[in-house]
């Protein structure tokens, strides 16, 4: 279509720029054209294309195409297209521009051939996506957006330090396998881990996603974490620690998801759980496992996007998002309810739906490599997914007790977007070769054999049975309005408290020093010109105490000088 050397993020960035200055149909056309044309163009690109550039003192490789990046390139274009269609009815320039920039940055990140380029897109992703949270334009989203951005920036900074260290140690900034032999490797792993939602670092996810707009969340759930999975697959395949990290990620969110009331937060927890499967796959590091991890990332975008879109539609039409306030919506939103059920079936990995074909790969790889206990834990996680995402989401939103809400189907563009995702879910599930042919590593695999199908069906039916039984007996955790405290307590309360303690201690010490200093000088030349409006930290200092510090400094210098002559 155009020169193969034009990096893939360019069309999306251009569209973002144009969307800033256009309105109405023209903007709609541009926003649709960018992912479609960009995606079609990408289909014609062969692996092996590479663009090099000399900037500062680095040999950058801003565009490198191989099969792994190409797969994510396709994925992000599909995701951008679905997201754009879903958001077409929104009249908010900021959201459109931020969403396109965000998608463009994610595409840029997966095609980055060196760590510096990766870092730039990594930060651009964080910043542009924060605007999708602020797009809610309410009190809650401002604070959440800042906390979200903090995590993103920390991840970027870790990456920066890691890459500088790595560059110094190895003399190369190329982004290939990094490994955890050096501290630099660990820092980079941690940077990727923040964005991949590693345990204890996952709060931006559960905090940020539910605070965004109905359309913004769809974009949010599609790019950042998947780009992180890509980065892990590229930099740290076969790092055994990741298997256990991934196992934790797959298991712990289940408990939170089951008791959570805000359905979009349930999906956020479920996101971490799905990421767990991918991280485990990367951790195993065999061709099958890596294929499984990236295939699952691909599928997760589709079914998680579909569920998020269904919830977004519910939120848009009813204005509510708590399981306790919803129910019975299937009467007024039958199409949405059906599409949501397709998403639920996919995420629960029903055979013939796409979750099945990729999750089986990770599970098989676990068995082949002899991680039986991990395999059991992942089995538990699979059952958990079915509970909180496969049953709970559609059940409490569309069925359960009738909440009395009567509304209509969402705008047509939303239905189209959900339809595309649903068709893709079923198509990949029924004809897995569609996806398998794109996978980066060569490995023959067939998910539809007797063992897999039977194991999965048993698992699903017994979980369904458990849900039904628990619900009938009234033992299933009811949907309550509650705040569930996660590890975020540590970030939002614990650390600030510790910080205040340290500040108070420092202030006490410097205060007593200051008093001693003033007493020493007997009379401060000037009384403190304190401004009561300002906080103690920011107060003015009397000239006397300034002079005292000068004296102390000079004394230290003099004494140090004298001591050094003695020694020498």
């Amino acid at each position: 279509m155009w020169s193969p050397d034009v990096p893939a993020f360019v069309p999306l960035y251009c569209a973002a720029l144009l969307a800033l200055f256009t309105r109405g149909w023209l903007r709609v056309a541009i926003m649709l054209a960018a992912p479609i044309l960009g995606g079609l163009h990408l289909l014609g690109i062969e692996p092996g294309v590479s663009v090099q550039l000399q900037l500062l003192t680095f040999d950058l490789e801003p565009y490198r195409v191989d099969r792994l990046s190409l797969l994510f390139g396709y994925l992000f274009h599909i995701a951008a297209l679905i997201g754009v269609i879903y958001a077409l009815h929104v009249k908010d320039t900021m959201q459109h521009v931020a969403a396109l920039l965000y998608a463009g940055s994610a595409v840029g990140a997966v095609f980055a051939g060196d760590l510096v380029t990766l870092f730039m897109f990594w930060e651009a992703m964080g910043l542009s996506s924060a605007f999708l949270i602020w797009a809610s334009r309410d009190e809650r989203s401002v604070g959440t957006g800042i906390r979200y951005l903090m995590f993103q920036v920390v991840s970027g900074l870790l990456l920066l330090v890691g890459l500088m260290w790595h560059a110094q140690a190895t003399g190369s900034i190329a982004f290939n396998q990094i490994g955890t032999e050096s501290t630099a490797g660990w820092l980079i792993l941690l940077a990727f881990g923040v964005k991949a939602g590693f345990p204890f670092l996952h709060n931006w996810l559960t905090d940020g996603y539910p605070a965004s707009t109905p359309t913004g969340t769809v974009f949010l759930c599609m790019f950042t974490t998947k780009a992180a999975v890509y980065a892990l697959a590229r930099g740290f395949p076969g790092t055994e620690a990741l298997i256990y990290v991934g196992m934790t990620m797959a298991c712990f969110p289940i408990f939170f998801a089951v008791i959570e009331n805000d359905l979009r937060r349930v999906l956020a927890y479920s996101m971490i759980n799905q990421l767990g499967f991918m991280v485990v796959g990367v951790g195993i590091g065999t061709a099958l496992a890596l294929n499984g991890a990236v295939a699952h990332a691909f599928n997760d975008v589709l079914f998680k996007g579909l569920l998020m879109m269904a919830m977004g539609a519910v939120l848009l039409m009813t204005g509510r998002m708590n399981g306790s306030d919803l129910g019975g919506l299937y009467k007024s939103m039958p199409i949405t309810a059906t599409l949501c059920c397709i998403g639920a079936a996919s995420i629960s990995a029903f055979p013939l739906f796409n979750g099945f074909v990729s999750k089986s790969m990770v599970m098989s790889a676990l068995m082949y490599e002899g991680y039986e206990y991990v395999w059991l834990a992942m089995l538990f996680a699979s059952a958990g997914v079915f509970h909180h995402a496969g049953i709970k989401i559609p059940y409490f939103a569309f069925f359960a007790h009738d909440s009395g809400i009567r509304t209509t189907e969402p705008p047509v563009n939303m239905l189209i977007a959900m339809g595309i995702a649903a068709v893709a879910c079923i198509a990949i599930g029924s004809f897995p070769s569609l996806l398998y042919n794109l996978l980066p590593y060569d490995y023959e695999y067939s998910p539809y054999d007797m063992t897999h199908v039977l194991t999965q069906l048993q698992l699903l039916f017994f979980s369904a049975l458990a849900f039904v039984w628990l619900n009938m007996r009234g033992m299933y955790p009811p949907e309550l309005r509650s705040t569930n405290i996660d590890i975020e307590w540590l970030w939002r309360k614990g650390l600030p408290r510790l910080g205040r303690g340290v500040v108070a201690a420092c202030r006490a010490v410097s205060g007593s020093l200051g008093t001693a200093g003033s007493a020493m000088l007997k009379q401060p030349i000037f009384k403190a010109t304190r401004n009561n409006l300002q906080m103690a930290l920011a107060r003015n200092w009397p000239t006397g105490s300034m002079v005292m510090w000068v004296g102390v400094f000079l004394a230290v210098m003099l004494v140090a000088g004298i001591l050094s002559t003695r020694l020498s």
Binding site: F119, L537, A538, L554, L563
Partner: protein, 491 residues
């Protein structure tokens, strides 16, 4: 041409009394602007010459050094001269409308006279090759800047200026005592001559004492933590154009003096090896960077917030100096340049805000992005540069600093720098959030965008921030050459 080193000091010096004699109005401003641009042209010429043909030595009045006063321009001070002249040439056009609004009509010509004197002093400190002459210019720039700060609208400007006066005088006195002690043992005041004679006297306690006094004096002018306490008030209450000019140049010149004294006069082995200055500088700077960044977060006035952030940034420069390596020094000198650009842009943007709403309190800036989008956008980009976001000048400085820290194996320092960058995000964000996301109070609905005469200088500096964030051949390149020359790595 060969008289440029002297001419660029003499021109503003002579223009100062002329400006004072001119009637209040536009004339003194036009004169100042013309002078500052002339000086900028000379500074560019000098830097080009120095880069091309090596250091220039100019004998004042035809007396050969070391007896006469020598002006010695090498890569380092040609670079600093360019920074001072460049910021001066951008700030003076801004000062026109800004000072008309902030300074009483009857003091206008006096204001420009003082401004030119400060300018002279800063250029003189940088250009001279004589350490006593350095002290003289230091006093010229300090005395005139005390008066400039006292011209601020707020009455607290008087206390601020008084505190600055006391502290500045103590600093200058220490400097003078140090110079006197050096003179008593070496019998010379010429910097190059001192550098030759000192190595033989390194054992003498007088030299050690002189070193302590010189460093303490300069550290005070440089606002090294905890000697920074005069700075926030001085920057906060000074007139807007003065804040921008002083913040971008005065402390940078002090950093230059520090580098000159440590590396040229005493030499790196003595300064950082024999004397235990490295741990002192590193510890104080690190504490300073953390504490003042935290203080910046707690400020209610945007100007004061930037002032505290300046102290933190100066801490970065001091850390770069303390490494004593080529990379560290390159980082420090690059940051001198980049920080002048970003603080200049930020203070000028606040000057434009003050011009329209008469206040720089963060609370008063609520919703201002709706009516003054270009000003707030400029502040935001300057803020990003301050944080060190890639593609801005600040990133380049941080990059070099962190590289220098890692080169020494001080990874904990790199971590601290990154954490303090996060603090920078917080304090910059604090202003942006209020200006961008809060609602505009009705009383300010008729506020308009700042006039072009203010916006152009602001955006020139903002553009420079972005330019030097991408193309570092000039900024980091010259800084690296200056650092190599100082440490004697390259000819």
């Amino acid at each position: 041409m060969e008289h440029f080193p002297a001419l660029m000091i003499v021109l503003p010096l002579l223009a100062a009394p002329v400006a004072a004699a001119l009637p209040n109005g536009r004339l003194p401003w036009l004169l100042t602007t013309a002078v500052s641009w002339g000086v900028l042209a000379m500074a560019c010429f000098l830097l080009a010459t120095v880069l091309g043909t090596g250091p220039i030595s100019y004998e004042m009045g035809g007396w050969a050094p070391p007896w006469g006063i020598e002006f010695r321009i090498d890569t380092l001070n040609a670079f600093v001269l360019l920074i001072v002249a460049g910021i001066g040439a951008v700030v003076t056009p801004f000062a026109g409308p800004s000072a008309r609004a902030e300074i009483p009509q009857r003091l206008q010509s006096l204001f420009y006279c003082l401004f030119l004197l400060t300018y002279t002093g800063l250029l003189g400190i940088t250009a001279t090759g004589d350490i006593f002459n350095m002290f003289v210019f230091l006093e010229i720039s300090s005395l005139s800047s005390y008066a400039l700060i006292a011209l601020g609208r707020d009455r607290r400007a008087l206390t601020a200026a008084y505190q600055y006066l006391i502290m500045g005088t103590i600093g200058a006195t220490f400097f003078l005592i140090g110079v006197g002690l050096l003179y008593s043992v070496t019998g010379t005041l010429n910097i190059a001559d001192l550098a030759e004679r000192l190595p033989a006297l390194e054992e003498a306690r007088v030299v050690h004492t002189a070193f302590a006094f010189l460093v303490a004096g300069i550290a005070l002018k440089l606002a090294l933590f905890p000697l920074h306490l005069w700075l926030p008030n001085a920057y906060t209450y000074a007139p807007s154009a003065v804040s921008a000019f002083i913040a971008a140049t005065a402390t940078k010149v002090a950093v230059y003096v520090m580098i000159r004294v440590l590396f040229t006069v005493f030499g790196v082995e003595f300064s950082l090896g024999e004397m235990p200055l490295q741990p002192i500088l590193v510890v104080l700077s690190v504490i300073g960077v953390v504490v003042t960044s935290l203080m910046a977060i707690n400020q209610l006035d945007a100007k004061r917030l930037l002032a505290y952030s300046s102290v933190a940034q100066l801490g970065y420069m001091a850390i770069g100096i303390a490494f004593g390596t080529t990379l560290g020094l390159t980082a420090a000198i690059t940051h001198v340049f980049n920080h002048a650009l970003m603080k200049g842009a930020l203070f000028l943007a606040l000057g434009a805000v003050a011009y329209r709403i008469g206040s720089t309190r963060i609370h008063d800036m609520a919703g201002l992005a709706k009516v003054m989008p270009w000003t707030i956008l400029a502040f935001a980009i300057g803020g990003l540069s301050l944080v060190g976001v890639p593609l801005t000048a600040g990133f380049i400085s941080k990059w070099y600093l962190i590289s220098a820290a890692l080169e020494q194996g001080w990874w904990w320092l790199a971590v601290i720098m990154l954490i303090t960058s996060l603090f920078a995000v917080m304090y910059v964000w604090k202003v942006i959030e209020v200006a961008w996301f809060r609602d505009l109070p009705e009383s300010r609905a008729d506020v308009r965008e700042a006039p072009l005469s203010l916006l152009v200088p602001v955006w020139v500096l903002v553009a420079a921030n972005v330019w030097f964030g991408i193309d570092t051949r000039f900024s980091a390149g010259v800084a690296a050459r200056a650092a190599e020359a100082l440490l004697g790595v390259a000819p």
